[in-house]
Amino acid sequence: MTTEQIYAKLLPIVKTYLPEDVSEEAIAADKDLTGELNINSAHLVDVVLDVEDEFDVEFANADMENLRTLNDAIAIIKQKLNIR
């Protein structure tokens, strides 16, 4: 799976949790999910659960702590799936 393919699968997940006043176009791989996209920090755990279901992986507590952007998510997913 390429970075682009992973990103394409993450996009609809993130979209679900965007506040009403943030448009879909604002999403980018390097944007801070809570700080810049204004996703309610409580919803980060829901984002992770959806990502786990989509990619059949499991995030550890440490992975959660390192998750700020979609780039972080892509790196964690690649590592779990052994993709270089």
Binding site: Y17, E20, H43, L44, V45, D46, L49
Partner: protein, 424 residues
């Protein structure tokens, strides 16, 4: 100085009608909301019927965002939010802007009998499977005792007292008394008061186990709930929500709000589970004191009561309730006020009953009618000895009511009573 308090908004989610116009039509035509539920049969319930509001997916989307509906599993919150938001809209109260000031003078008291059982059930399974991390972020918000008030608080921006009360089947009427007192004492100008209860097997199971629900009407659900009838054989379980916006008379007049009725006063007490009172049975001395104290708070005479919206659940306790009313009001026979029970149409909506029935009380007061006592075909002989049958309307009829009283009684031997007057 006590501030005068009026009702300026109504909302209702009842088994026989969702939304005030539909509900109003339903109670005038005596429409029942009680139906057979296959799920109860499959689970081996003795009583396989219940009253449950009918709400479409489209309707749900009018009140909740897609994000709020993700992993949402709470009829308690669903009913409460629809009734509460409808009442605020009916009162023409503008919600606070997302980045604006909270509405410091608007508070919420919204009670429930239990929090969201379906969400709890889902969570228990995940936890027992060792999957606590899969609960997601909204499990707490949906199962905390104050969930309905918290959801309504976020949707409206209420910035005064936002809380939830619980006193079993007295919850709804109690919420109205609490909101009334908060405004009367000058601590808020508007209070959204109400209650909700979810239904279905996990809420109703305990009552089925107590053998206090009717098991003879699974093939004839609409005939099952028979308040004051000689053949009353138990209460039909129900669910839903009701909501009232209470407001200081001054505020309502200043902003030109529609005034449904004035709240004259009320009272809440307990029989202490002493004497004939117990966890499940009322102490009549306390019931009568609650009624008497309400009249005192409202500063009216017993002779001024035109109509009673009873608790009357269709159990063997109905005759005792009538006797308590007779003794508390010193009125009987043809001198007794009119009385009816909504439960013939809705079943007993538990914690939601008080607020749903208060909405029905105010609609009758405002529009000048009495709804029929559905299924009261042969008045219970003990009741007939106490009051004239003509005081128990069997058909809807037009009549101008001035002063009315609503009471609710709950497990734990708790009582709540509130008095409304038509606004001239």
């Amino acid at each position: 100085m006590k501030h005068r308090v009026v009702v300026t908004g109504l909302g209702v989610v009842a088994p026989n009608g969702v939304g005030v116009p539909v509900f109003s039509e339903a109670i005038q035509s005596g429409t029942s909301g009680i139906a057979f539920h296959q799920k109860l049969k499959e689970l081996g319930f003795s009583c396989q019927i219940g009253g449950m509001p009918n709400i479409s997916e489209e309707k749900i989307k009018e009140y909740f965002t897609d994000l709020q509906l993700k992993n949402f599993k709470s009829d308690n919150i669903l009913y409460g939010v629809i009734a509460g938001m409808d009442a605020l809209k009916d009162a023409d109260i503008s919600l606070a802007g997302k980045q604006g000031e909270p509405l410091w003078d608007l508070g919420i008291i919204f009670g429930s009998g239990n929090s969201s059982v379906e969400k709890f059930r889902e969570s228990f399974y995940k936890i027992d499977e060792g999957n606590v991390r899969r609960l997601g972020s909204t499990s707490v918000a949906q199962t905390m005792a104050s969930s309905v008030a918290a959801y309504l608080g976020g949707m409206s921006g209420a910035g005064n007292w936002v809380t939830s009360n619980a006193s079993a089947c007295a919850t709804g009427t109690e919420a109205i008394v609490m909101g009334y007192e908060h405004i009367a004492s000058g601590k808020a100008t508007q209070m959204l008061c109400g209650s909700s209860n979810d239904g279905g097997p996990y809420v109703w199971g305990g009552f089925d186990a107590m053998r206090i629900l009717p098991y003879q009407y699974n093939n004839d659900p609409t005939a099952a709930s028979r308040p004051m009838d000689a053949n009353a054989s138990g209460f039909v379980p129900g669910c839903g929500a009701g909501a009232l916006v209470l407001e200081s008379l001054k505020s309502a007049q200043e902003r030109g709000a529609t005034i449904y009725a004035e709240v004259l006063g009320g009272h809440v007490n307990s029989g202490g589970q002493r004497g004939e009172g117990s966890m499940t049975a009322p102490n009549s001395i306390a019931v009568k004191r609650c009624i008497t104290e309400s009249l005192k708070q409202a500063e009216i005479d017993v002779s001024e009561i035109d109509y009673i919206n009873g608790h009357l659940t269709a159990t063997t306790k109905d005759p005792l309730e009538i006797r308590n009313w007779c003794e508390a009001l010193y009125r009987n026979g043809a001198d007794f006020p009119y009385i009816n029970s909504l439960k013939g149409m809705t079943g007993h909506c538990l914690a939601a009953s008080g607020s749903i029935e208060a909405v029905s009380t105010i609609l009758q007061l405002k529009d000048g009618f009495l709804f029929p006592n559905v299924n009261c075909e042969t008045v219970h002989p003990e009741i007939e000895r106490l009051i004239s049958s003509e005081k128990i309307p069997k058909e809807t009829f037009k009549t101008n009511l001035q002063t009315v009283i609503k009471a609710s009684f709950g497990f734990g031997d708790v009582n709540a009573c509130i008095i409304f007057r038509r606004k001239s």
